[in-house]
Symmetry: none
Subunit: 535 residues, 2 copies
């Protein structure tokens, strides 16, 4: 992730502000420009050594024609104050003003650099359709529940949904790593159950396990999921951390289905917070959501149909280079209302039906089949072969190379276990001869501020005559050699230690008849050597 912003590039946040005191809307807007940036009164900002343009700029104030004392206010900010990181972006967006009242975020207009830093959904609507080969109809999802059911019970349920022909199965979001259905066992068993059904037919059901592990275990859980050949996960950004979701989506080529747990207070108040279309739509899409679950109007929750359509629009509208994402209405979707729900959301929707399938019949695969039949009757479904093979995935980026953090790098005859002998330099501008290199520490995942290497020079060989700012420490290990250092030269025998100062010209030579080996320790972060032509 680069920060490619042009100087003073700005982005804009739109707020709905309700004025309920004697101050003017201009004063309220001006407060926000300070509160979300410098957080001091204007007269405390020093003249010198202070970056221009840090404070927000009020770009526009429009009264809301329908609600007295309510205004729509646009404020622009320099993009680089967000650090182009999710934590600081949310801080600028709503950090301190969350602690005020009567301010509601209603839109965000991003600048170009956000789209190059935050890549949005990995798959999006088109990518997911290609992956499973289903076009022309709404997609469907159901949930494995209830919490407390045995792994056996959950995997049987997964099998039933798959037999019924559902497109996606997700864990209930409360099914995490409890001891009565531990994460790994549950994930493997449910995926096995689904794969078994998939094996016999072209239509593939995908299983999205809930990933809600602790900070220190969540990445391992994601890798476990990938190793099981699973293509997507369910994840709740407010439970595991907003940037955790961005990180996982960035690093792993997964379908990300987001869950709205713990988000409700951001939008339940019409006059304060972040609109549901912005949080569950725009922002979750920014984090990488391919499918955003939200409570459907008319179910157990309070969002209105207008809210739900606004969320859907934020997910599906054109927004920079981000792929369009699926809205996923959920929470009290009933079999007998499928037609109207479809009318509301249209074809590019994932319909999540949970308890209703269970209530419809004790035979879950049967009620799933009826549900799927209803859905298909509303559309002209077109099927293609799934684009991507569904074998277990081997493209997992390796966090742990096999040789990383080996407990012991064993010495044997001047080679070290798990370490390769490499060319001394690949750049042929340098003059050298008969020398090779082993990277021992610093290139295999260690976080040291130094690198340890072993060099060996054949009889008659030499390293390049060079200089650089970084220092060298040399320790004799094998045989004897010569260090040219400035205008002097020194013999280096086993265990002798030499130090080369910044920009001191130096070279190592083997004038003897046996190999000359030495350790060389350098700063991990270092400048490139400059070659010195023979004088």
């Amino acid at each position: 992730m680069k920060n490619p912003e042009p100087a003073n590039e700005r982005f804009t946040i739109q707020y709905i502000i309700t004025v309920n005191d004697k101050r003017s809307i201009e004063e309220h807007a001006s407060d926000i420009t300070l509160e979300q940036t410098v957080e001091v009164p204007k007269n405390c900002i020093p003249d010198k050594n202070f970056e221009e343009g840090i404070i927000g700029i009020v770009e526009n104030i429009q009264p809301n024609a329908n609600i007295p004392n309510q205004y729509i206010v646009s404020i622009s900010y320099r993009t680089d104050i967000t650090e182009f990181s999710i934590p600081q972006f949310f801080n600028v967006l709503f950090g301190n003003i969350s602690l005020k009242n009567n301010i509601k975020i209603s839109d965000i207009i991003f600048a170009d650099s956000f789209f190059s830093v935050f890549k949005g959904p990995n798959y999006g609507i088109e990518g997911i359709r290609k992956l499973i080969g289903v076009y022309g109809r709404a997609l469907t999802c159901s949930a494995l529940k209830p919490m407390g059911l045995s792994v056996d019970g959950l995997s049987k349920l997964a099998s039933s949904f798959a037999i019924g022909g559902i497109d996606f199965i997700k864990d209930d979001h409360g099914i995490s790593n409890q001891k009565f259905h531990p994460f790994k066992e549950r994930v493997s068993r449910c995926q096995d159950a689904v794969e078994k059904v998939n094996a016999d037919r072209e239509h593939k059901t995908l299983y999205f396990p809930m990933v809600s592990g602790k900070f220190e275990e969540i990445e391992e859980q994601v890798q476990y999921v990938l190793k099981e050949g699973i293509r997507g996960i369910l994840i709740a950004p407010m439970l595991v951390g907003l940037d955790t979701v961005r990180y996982i989506s960035d690093k792993y080529n997964l379908i990300i289905m987001t869950h709205p747990a713990l988000t409700g207070t951001y939008f339940h108040d019409p006059s304060h917070g972040i609109q549901s279309s912005v949080l569950l739509g725009t922002l979750f899409r920014m984090l990488g959501s391919d499918i955003s679950v939200f409570p459907h109007a008319g179910g157990r929750f309070y969002l209105t149909e207008k809210d739900c359509l606004a969320i859907s629009n934020s997910l599906r509208c054109t927004n920079g280079s981000w792929q369009n994402a699926f809205p996923c209405p959920a929470g009290g979707i009933h079999m007998d209302k499928i037609t109207e729900i479809n009318d509301t959301y249209g074809v590019d929707t994932v319909l999540l039906i949970g308890g209703s399938l269970m209530q419809h019949s004790a035979d879950i695969s049967h009620s799933t089949k009826i549900f799927m039949k209803k859905i298909k009757s509303l559309y002209n479904e077109k099927l293609c072969p799934p684009e991507i093979p569904f074998a277990s995935s081997c493209e997992i980026p390796s966090v742990t190379d096999q040789n990383r953090n080996l407990p012991l790098i064993k010495f044997e005859n001047f080679t070290w276990s798990g370490r390769l002998t490499e060319e001394y330099k690949t750049n042929r501008c340098f003059d050298f001869s008969g020398i090779n290199r082993q990277e021992l520490i610093g290139k295999s995942g260690e976080k040291t501020s130094f690198d340890l290497r072993y060099f060996e020079i054949k009889p008659g060989g030499y390293s390049s005559l060079e200089k650089h700012v970084h220092e060298h420490v040399i320790i004799g290990v094998r045989g004897e050699g010569v260090l040219i250092k400035g205008d002097s030269s020194f013999n280096i025998a086993v265990h002798d230690i030499a130090y080369v100062s910044p920009l001191e010209k130096h070279q190592l030579r083997n004038d003897g008849e046996m190999p000359f080996g030495f350790f060389c320790i350098v700063d991990h972060k270092r400048d490139k050597p400059t070659v010195i032509k023979d004088e």
Copy 2:
């Protein structure tokens, strides 16, 4: 972290429920018992293979005498459904019902097992007072700002606050890793400025940098802070993730000061959300907050004095085995109101004064002195020597200048020319035997980012069993020895290389009959080891 809960142990959540429809309070309460657990209608719960007691139990319903249609409802849950993890605990607490209305969490009564899993504040009020040696008065804090000021300006400001005698300096929470004040440079420079002032006096000002890095970099930032000799951090749980804070507090022995950014919508509505006393008090203390910043009544934000006192009480009350934490009222605290603010909160408080110090006078150290004088005039301050030494990590005697930058440090019989053989450690808290040290590189004027040392252990001798954030690289030089590393042990022979990861417990032993000598390479700037008592 173990899960030591007895079978079917339960904990209780208290809700304030406002009924605004025709259903009874009993129906509302019953809905919550399902919504937060199994998330299906009761008749969908299978008989077989289902864990007993998963569904919440309504323990008590009391009408609120003062508000019609409002009830105080207690519901108990099996503790193990929370997985004893922060993400799933918050899910059970308020995941789905956040998406409803008229439900406010007003209390949590934990069960024993929570206190053994979640250890709460590392230092607490007593620990922080011992650390800095200040008793009998409220503690004080100010903030480095504004965002956009140069690193030079910020470090000068830090110096001024320290000269003025403030107890703590925190970064403004919007100062993160922006290119105009990059994290590492800013942290090092501000800490240097504070250390310089501290060096000349017994009272020590502590600097708490804001840590808000991305998922993949936040732990490195914490380690950087530790290596700089810094004792605490400022962190915003909702920005970086709730469990990220728990993780950092658990793993690193830091003072955790929490910031309330992005929390406001949880408590701004009196009838829906999580009370501020529960979120900023109880729950942030559960995550490890030693000092919880919250908006003071009468400042720029809307909390009432009653809210602020309830937060303070949740932080300071007895709650299982958790240490008491400091309330830290902030946001519009003015010099001229210090007396009444002190009366409100009492002695065990950290008063955060920001802009007001800047507005009071252009000479910040002068206005800080006046502020400190006012505070001290209200109390009988008692000072003790700070408990923990504040020297930077260089108690190591330095080699005489004559030996600096010797061109060659000649090896002879396991000593090196110009280098002294010294004691292994001067601190007798550590258990070690028969070991000495030669500082070869890093203490004689070299500017390397690493130090190279030679240690030699006599037969039967051993180094201390310890751990630290900085890594070790060990190279066998003489004889053979044993490296204890985590739960394993390895033989180290000549030229073998071993790597010790951050916080891995380790020890070197010589069980043989000949001397065992090894090089040890470490980062030049590094944290102090923690001794591990024999288990």
